[in-house]
Symmetry: C3
Subunit: 166 residues, 3 copies
């Protein structure tokens, strides 16, 4: 027969394991998003592509890009190449993460700063919705939706969804 | 009599439980602050109000707003409504969090970017001190103090307090 | 003889201890970097110096500063004093952290916003590589390398290193 102490310990251990798993997931998602800027501003096609699942989507308001290899290829297309040549910083905010088992949604902001003569221009400020899945290779992006916060409704809608409304 | 192994395990488990609780608190505070921008930029009164305790305070340098419902109402007042209509991003930095049991202080920066013809204007850059408490409904804001970093002393004082000086 | 249950618990506990240690390290590194802005924008020499090891380095592209006291002294030198007088915000992005036992590298962005008549100017946007070590006094900076993202290659190289390339 198992001892009462051991049974109590096992339950506490199982509780901790669940909490630790959730925190590891949240931190892994922070790390995944922190990889985006350094990948695209150094024009690393491989590192950029590695963030998405093989059939992942990048939906920035026009025809979405499909497939992580196509998305990685963005770093070699205009206007990205020109931004990097001038000096660019694609910076993500600390996102709001809603975890649901092996799925998650992260909502936050991206800003693109581009160097010009005497300062950096805020070339874009956007709302982002990252739909994510935990795979054998860690957390991957299934779909990144990005809408500029330029007064049109798309950006506000992504933010609204992210806080559990709309 | 309890076995030496079980006693050792219990102590290690109790240590882990304390560490996990502190990390959960820190991550919950990150998440609370990450909710602010998406709430106000989508003009969600409910989500904004939910961040504060019922008698919470938002002190932005003039007469402080008192009560989470009044604070939520900010999203329907000027100049906020105009900022959102133009396209706005209220972005929090990753804060410095000092935990003290069920209380905490988070210190960091906020920036407000507002869209204009060809770029986004940095309309405000501010120091923030968030005084927080852990309640039955999770971490809530008791008082957010916000001072623009415009050369006046208020912002520097908030930052100074946040690092344990001043 | 130890019981099978106890042995299983011990292994699970040891696994958790390792995971918790890694997460504590990551969060401690976030906190260390979150201290930078509030320290320099409030011109706290002590808090700034406390971030580096005694023989730590700050390499910003010219002759590197050596020693944490020299680095702390930056807050009393130009152009820093003028920036703070006008109103300044040194903001770090959420970094990409690569942990390796008691060492770590954190890669991310810094931006310096300086107040001017009607807005804040983005005075600098830079790539940062923080080489860190866990000491008896917590995580400390051994070397911060900082390169402006102005189209020169230095910044892109730091970002490239940070994602495990270059």
């Amino acid at each position: 027969m198992r001892q009462p102490e051991a049974i109590g310990l096992e339950q506490r251990l199982a509780d901790l394991e669940g909490k630790v798993r959730a925190m590891e997931d949240q931190l892994a998602i922070y790390q995944l998003l922190a990889r985006y800027g350094p990948s695209v501003d150094s024009r690393s096609e491989t590192s950029t592509a590695s963030m998405w699942s093989a059939d992942g989507i990048y939906d920035f308001g026009e025809t979405p890009l499909r497939g992580n290899l196509a998305i990685g290829g963005l770093v070699n297309s205009e206007p990205h190449v020109s931004y990097v040549a001038k000096g660019s910083a694609h910076v993500m905010s600390m996102p709001l993460v809603l975890l649901d088992g092996e799925s998650a949604v992260a909502t936050g902001y991206s800003r693109l700063y581009v160097h010009r003569e005497d300062d950096w221009k805020v070339e874009r400020a956007s709302a982002n919705r990252w739909e994510l899945a935990k795979t054998e290779d860690g957390w991957k992006v299934l779909n990144r939706q990005n809408r500029m916060l330029d007064g049109s409704s798309g950006g506000r809608e992504l933010l609204s969804q992210g806080i559990g409304e709309g």
